[in-house]
Amino acid sequence: MAQQSRPPSETADVIELLLRTGDNTLVLGHRVSEWCGHSPVLEEDIALANSALDLIGQTQLWLGLAGELEALMNGQARTADQLAYLRDAAQFRNVLLVERPNGDFGQTLMRQFLFDAWHLELLKTLENSTHPRIAEIAAKAIKEVYYHVERSADLVIRLGDGSDESHRRMQAALDDIWSYAGELFVADAYDERLAAAGIAPNPADLKPKWEQTVLRVLSEATLTVPAGTFVHKGGKRGIHTEHLGFILAQMQFLQRAYPGAVW
């Protein structure tokens, strides 16, 4: 395997990347799945379940590889399930954006759109990663994410440029979530080393393309980009909002209450 010839410090960086990517899809998938059976219309129940399914499927691949690579670090591999169900909040590396509560359907949708637009740019770069296993997963995931962006952008436009009420709600959703999008583009030392090795993009470099998409869609949606530049961050370092603890309390309940049981 290619990664075996790489220095251990690089493996640690790769694992960090995989946890960040997999935790993003896991936590967002969880949030989206909360809508199941409660969405405004049957077609949305189906579409949301579909997005959640894609995200959970991607989580299995990202976290699966992270757990596998851990064996190179300390001789002990973990499964995707162990990583998802047996880590506490401080070990989660997702951005704060994805753990924001669903709110109304507009808030869920805006969160999804801002994420999807970033997710697509990320995967476009990861598809060409020097790490073949990462490139392989990205190539698989990107097919799903093209569709996610198309769908969330389309709905943002239609609701933003819809009735007064839907416009008001979409603007409120944008205002509410905007300050959480910036964390997607904040680079730390891990990101810089990964970018230098050609394994992953420097997050900051994804911003222009993301902005292009987002500004185009928001303008078509007749929505106003909030003026504020403040960015909420911390998730990538394991400092989360209060919400993640509750997400994990639900998600991990059975694994925690019945340790070692097979399901």
């Binding site: 409660h38 405004p40 219309v41 379940a49 959970i56 239609r158 819809g162 009735s163 839907s166 399901w263």
Partner: protein, 334 residues
């Protein structure tokens, strides 16, 4: 079943000789096994009964998302979460096909949903029971989807074309659901003592409600006789219940679980099991709105609808705007 106790507006099944020429021709087509298509002649009673039946079936699929959706965020592994998500997604899809089949009879999805929300139309009694543990998700797949299949496999041959075709698509998916549910039960039954206890408890709680899904005995029912003459009901409730018990008892045995019926015994003569009837008083209480979850289930659906009103309106207004913009555009492409 997913459609229970459907009324037909008939007080008795008419003989061919008593029918109008049109109705007789219609009945003869059905007797020959032909499919009736939406644009073709059908008696008003047939149309109305089908709307009730397909509507109730559609509502059951939709409300049925709730008890299972209840465990999606708590599913014990990523794979189980994905399987359950896919299942609940399938159920929404079933609702969609069925509402579309009903629409061919001249009733809109919104009208049917309105009737559900006002309590004028029902959904299957089974979805008024709670899913209390993860084993319940196994039991629902195994028993509830299992009971649904019993009824829906014969309905693939039903006389109304769109309903029959919807059933063909639905049945394929339902059998997956049942297998996946049974697979959860296998894991639980072979698991730790706590898991095994959960599995037994789930069977204890879901056994009789599953038997109730077929509805009370309809040997004497005019409505059933009429529906059977129209081939929108293929078997009596008792026949289906018997088949379900005969199929399920060996499966429970394989799991090492006990069916909660001390009178359950193999009857060599009838080549089937003798078993206890469910408590029909409880069944009628549940239908009357007094099941453990009636209020929550309906409230959840009504809330989803009300909270989504702005979403519907927003999309409608956008569609109108887009239409106007298109109309204003010069015919540049020509």
């Amino acid at each position: 079943m997913y459609a229970q106790m459907i009324k037909t507006d008939s007080d008795r099944v008419k003989d061919l000789s008593e029918m109008s020429p049109e109705d007789r021709a219609f009945q003869e087509r059905i007797d020959r096994g032909e499919k009736i298509e939406p644009k073709e002649y059908m008696p008003e009673g047939y149309r109305k009964t089908l709307i009730r039946q397909i509507g109730q079936h559609a509502h059951s699929e939709i409300v049925g998302q709730l008890p299972e959706g209840n465990w999606i965020t708590r599913a014990p592994t990523l794979e189980r979460k994905a399987i359950l998500l896919a299942k609940v997604q399938d159920e929404a899809g079933h609702g969609l096909y069925l509402y579309c089949a009903a629409e061919t009879l001249g009733v809109s999805r919104d009208e049917l949903i309105g009737l559900l929300h006002s309590g004028k139309m029902k959904y299957s009694s089974i979805f008024n029971y709670p899913t209390l543990t993860w084993a319940d998700i196994g039991a629902v797949g195994w028993l509830v989807d299992g009971a649904a299949i019993m009824n829906q496999v014969p309905l693939q041959r039903t006389s109304f074309g769109p309903y029959s075709r919807a059933m063909v698509r639905i049945c394929k998916e339902e059998s997956f659901h049942q297998r996946q549910g049974y697979d959860i039960m296998i894991k639980m039954a072979q698991g730790t003592p706590e898991q095994k206890a959960m599995a037994q408890d789930a069977l204890n709680r879901f056994w009789y409600p599953s038997l109730m899904m077929f509805g009370p005995s309809d040997k004497e029912s005019v409505h059933s006789a009429q529906s059977m003459a129209w081939k929108i009901k293929i078997n009596t409730n008792d026949e289906l219940r018997q088949k379900f018990v005969d199929q399920t008892v060996p499966q429970a045995k394989y799991l090492g679980l006990t069916v909660p019926d001390e009178h359950l015994v193999w009857n060599e003569e009838k080549q089937g099991h003798d078993f206890s009837e469910p408590d029909w008083t409880e069944f009628f209480e549940v239908l009357a709105g007094n099941g453990p979850c009636n209020k929550e289930r309906l409230a959840a659906r009504v809330k989803a609808w009300d909270d989504g009103a702005w979403f519907h309106d927003g999309l409608t207004v956008y569609a109108k705007k887009a239409e106007t913009r298109r109309a204003r555009q010069p015919l540049a492409a020509e």
